[in-house]
């Protein structure tokens, strides 16, 4: 593979590139899903290919192919160079890359059990057992349980001399039960929605999730939601659990702090950000107890790696410190925009065929000092929302509306009736400023997001968001008419 990398770098130089890199990737995936007693997915796939990125005349070009052969690498590299040259007809200024260390090293995700070595029969056996429990009530119309595993071996070689080999591993799974009655559809998921919990681990994650033990409760909650009261519109103090808060962090802190979005690169599709550069290190994002830390060194994170796709070592830094906005997600191309000499190492692509771009890393809300029981006792009239169901946010990341699978009323410090069709809505900085309590480290977990979309053509990235339940005061809930 190193020989192939050398072919691309030499070819790029011959074709006028002042910078070039090549990523050669072998990606293995295993997807298993059981749905209503039948196997809905059982698929093991291998994707092999390479992508060459060049700077010619001060502009980027990128081309990729699934055929790893000398002639193809030369052809594709030449193509990337001609795209860059064409782009330079319409450039304002040359691409400026930050000066960074050269690395010749290797890194891999730590794991205990290789998920690809675990027999399919064992995986199916667990999923069918879960499926049986979920479907034990006839009001459950759909039971879905799944596991997914991904191993990505990559080589990154740059014209500056970096040569980095990494093997990234991701494992996870989960399930949901959907109850249906007279046009009402209610779903409960475990451990979280949209496929379950994923982390940078081996098969040990599956054995640690207590999947079987929670199936009955999940089924019963889905059925109970059919007769629960809908969430009434109004203003409430709300406590949000970690699985719901993970997506809140993702959408209302993660994406706004991507510097390429701030600079307008996503304007035509996913939008820009209200976090314009004059707010850097000045803007009050939330209350003083709000600390949000980006960390691509975090153990078990989905965005935990040795080096990003620019070849920059993984780092940890504050995005929000004591409520003040203090950091962006950056890469080599944009670090200089905010006066940084070095990139934060947040440039990632979703495979060999995609151009790396700034992505949210593992981004977590730091724990506070409350016990959940005490937080509920301290809440006079509120709602407790769990497990994300839906999300939407405007293109500057101000106005958001999220839905949760399940809620409970809190009356005079006690959890009360179950509530369905839970939604809450707000404006990002106002919302984070209303945060007055965060639960302690005992309640804090990293939660995986595996479906983060960005870019044109679209790419899907993965990251984790650590969170413990937190309280937000006087929030708009329900749908106003």
């Amino acid at each position: 593979m190193r020989d192939f990398a050398a072919i691309a770098l030499n070819s790029a130089k011959i074709n006028g590139a002042t910078y070039a890199d090549i990523r050669i990737i072998i990606k293995d995936t295993e997807d298993i899903e059981v749905r209503n007693g039948e196997i809905a997915t059982l698929d093991e796939s291998e994707s092999i290919g390479f992508g060459v990125r060049v700077i010619v005349n001060g502009c980027w070009g990128f081309a990729a192919s699934s055929r790893i052969e000398k002639e193809e690498i030369e052809k594709i590299t030449k193509k990337a160079c001609s795209e860059a040259a064409a782009s330079s007809m319409l450039k304002k200024e040359d691409i400026r890359l930050s000066q960074e260390e050269i690395h010749q090293t290797a890194w891999h995700t730590p794991f205990i059990i290789d998920p690809f070595s675990v027999p399919v029969t064992e995986k199916l056996d667990l999923l069918f057992k879960i499926d049986k429990i979920l479907r034990a009530d006839p009001r459950i119309a759909v039971a879905e349980s799944s596991m997914n595993f991904m191993r990505e071996k990559q080589i990154l070689a740059t014209s500056e001399g970096s040569l980095i080999e990494q093997t990234l591993l991701r494992s996870g799974g989960g399930y949901s039960a959907t109850a249906v009655k007279d046009g009402d559809v209610q779903k409960r998921s475990f451990p979280m929605s949209f496929g379950g919990q994923y982390l940078g681990m081996g098969y040990e994650i599956i054995r640690s999730l207590d999947l079987l033990e929670n199936a009955e409760k999940t089924r019963e909650e889905a059925v109970a939601l059919l007769s629960a009261r809908p969430c009434a519109p109004g203003k409430k103090d709300i406590i949000i659990d970690g699985t719901q808060l993970a997506l809140q962090i993702h959408e209302s802190v993660g994406h706004p702090s991507e510097l390429d979005r701030v600079m307008g690169l996503e304007e035509n599709y996913a939008g820009r950000s209200f976090l314009t550069t004059e707010k850097y290190r000045k803007f009050r994002y939330g209350s003083e107890i709000v600390n949000l830390v980006a960390d691509s060194t975090m153990p078990t994170g989905l965005s935990t790696f040795g080096f990003d796709d620019d070849g920059i070592r993984a780092q940890r830094w504050h995005i929000v410190k004591d409520g003040i906005f203090t950091g962006y997600h950056t890469n080599r191309e944009f670090a200089h925009v905010i006066g940084d000499e070095r990139s934060k190492g947040a440039n990632r692509a979703d495979g060999w065929s995609s151009l790396p771009m700034i992505r949210i890393t593992n981004l977590s809300l730091m724990p506070g000092d409350w016990r959940l029981e005490d937080l509920i006792k301290d809440t006079e009239d509120g709602l407790f929302f769990c497990t994300n169901k839906s999300w939407s946010i405007d293109q500057l990341r101000y106005n958001f509306q999220f839905a949760a699978e399940i809620g409970w009323e809190i009356k005079k410090g006690k959890l009360g009736n179950m509530v369905k069709n839970c939604t809450y809505q707000g404006i990002t900085p106002e919302f984070w400023s209303s945060c007055d309590a965060i639960c302690n480290i005992d309640y804090w977990r990293p939660w995986g997001v595996v479906n983060c979309g960005k870019g044109q053509p679209g790419q899907t990235a993965e990251m984790s968001h650590g969170a413990a339940p937190a309280r937000f005061r006087n929030i708009t809930v329900g749908i106003a008419k």
Partner: protein
């Protein structure tokens, strides 16, 4: 790319490797390129050639699947073995159907060579023309100019063979001032049918007209939804409402309502892969032939989309809407056409005393799959209409409403239809719509 002769040759090799088992080979091969611009210059210019071969093997009533991007003999042997091992690991499942027999498909031609071969220089030149005009008006521009060459092939050991090659190009542009934006987009199989200068002009005019947006209270308004906004609403109806799996499980707005009136007389929705404005295929991902299927006719629910499995359970025939098998989603219509009416956007504005004109939506997402309650934001040109005229731009608003309710409050549909992509994928042939009593639930700061 793996062309047709290559696909035939690779399929034959796979059938030889798999020997006595029933075997299906699916090819997805693409050569695409995209130039992306922002701040009036090119920010990314990328291209990718990828070939995926997906092998499904049936061993009795068990099936396994494996995919690879490589088609040398060693890789194909490895993939077939993986699929066979996956099948062998299962218990027998009586619901698994044998592979489909051979079929004859209707003629469809969505391949335009000029789209596949347009050069990077040509695309950048077109973008440059548009940006220069925007710059002359003091606007910033962002967008894409993409072209794709796509191949899908299905072959199986029963002799079924289906192959489709198509092209697609998209020019999309957002023009911006300090406090406003405007947007326009077009997709066509023939890149030279896209009028990039006209799109640039529409986006620029919208951005200019949107300057200085005023605050407005949320609440119920008459709305005029331009085509892209209508496409976003239809996306959720297509994905959540028209598939037979959702229907039979009680999770569709149509569940129990086939043969009944669900919308007003003006609403007719057909899935039609042969419509000249869509870029469809004549077969589905099981190799079953597609044909136009009326889903809603003059407000009456007529059909839902079936694959072979849902059809077998329902005692009917596949309508040619299978996704790759097996999957947890069931069948889905991908080429929805909403029939136009006799109005126009101009006439809708003229006939509105007080309402909101919406260019497009942002980040729409579903809250309730049966009521089809969705939420999303307006963007890139939202205007208050008063006494039959655009009065002024307004700040963007969030809507939260039921698509079923919205379609039942349709007052007018435009005669013209366009192919418009939805925010979360897919694209549909739609008219503009005028809706009475559309619910905006909150506002934002811009």
């Amino acid at each position: 790319m793996l062309d047709e002769s290559g696909f035939k040759e690779v399929s034959k090799r796979i059938f030889d490797i798999a020997k006595s088992n029933e075997t299906e080979v699916m090819l997805v091969s693409k050569d695409d390129s995209l130039a992306r611009f922002s701040n009036n210059s090119i920010s990314q210019h990328i291209s990718s050639m990828e070939t995926d071969i997906i092998i499904r093997v049936l061993i009795g009533q068990r099936q396994g699947k494996a995919g690879t991007t490589q088609y040398d003999q060693e890789s194909l042997v490895k993939a077939v073995k993986k699929a066979e091992m996956a099948a062998s690991a299962q218990k027998e499942d009586p619901s698994i159907l044998p592979l489909a027999p051979p079929h004859v498909y209707g003629p469809i031609d969505n391949y335009v060579e000029k789209t596949a071969t347009i050069s990077p220089d040509e695309k950048v030149s077109a973008i440059k023309e548009v940006i220069r005009k925007a710059e002359d008006k003091g606007l910033k521009s962002a967008g894409i100019f993409s072209n794709e060459d796509n191949i899908v092939g299905i072959a199986n050991s029963n002799g079924l063979y289906a192959y489709n090659r198509s092209t697609s190009a998209t020019f999309s542009i957002t023009a911006m001032t300090d406090d406003s934006s405007g947007w326009a987009e077009d997709t066509n199989k023939d890149v030279y049918q896209i009028d990039h200068l006209r799109l640039g002009q529409i986006a620029a005019e919208k951005a200019d007209l949107s300057r200085g947006p005023k605050d407005i209270d949320p609440g119920e308004y008459t709305v005029i939804l331009e085509h892209a906004a209508v496409s976003d609403l239809l996306l959720f109806m297509a994905y959540e409402g028209f598939g037979a799996l959702n229907y039979t499980e009680g999770r569709s707005f149509l569940s129990g309502k086939l043969g009944k009136k669900v919308f007003g007389e003006t609403i007719t929705i057909i899935d039609d892969p042969f419509h000249p404005m869509t870029i469809g295929m004549s077969f589905d991902f099981e190799g079953m032939p597609k044909r136009p299927i009326p889903l809603i006719v003059n407000g009456m629910a007529k059909n839902v989309a079936h694959d072979r499995k849902t059809a077998c359970k329902a005692g009917t025939l596949s309508t040619g809407h299978a996704l790759p098998q097996p999957n947890p989603y069931g069948p889905m219509p991908l080429n929805i056409v909403l029939k136009g009416g006799d109005s126009s956007i101009e006439e809708m504005i003229r006939s509105t005393n007080r309402g909101i004109l919406v260019t497009r939506f942002h980040y729409t997402n579903i809250i309730d799959p049966v009521k089809l309650t969705i939420t999303g934001m307006t963007r890139d040109g939202t205007f208050l209409v008063v006494d039959g005229k655009i009065a002024h731009p307004v700040k963007n608003m969030r809507f939260t409403d039921s698509v079923v309710r919205i379609f039942n409050k349709a007052e007018a549909l435009s005669k013209d239809q366009v192919f418009a992509k939805a925010f979360f994928g897919g694209g549909f042939v739609v008219p503009a719509m005028k809706i009475r009593g559309f619910n905006f639930s909150s506002t934002t700061r811009f």
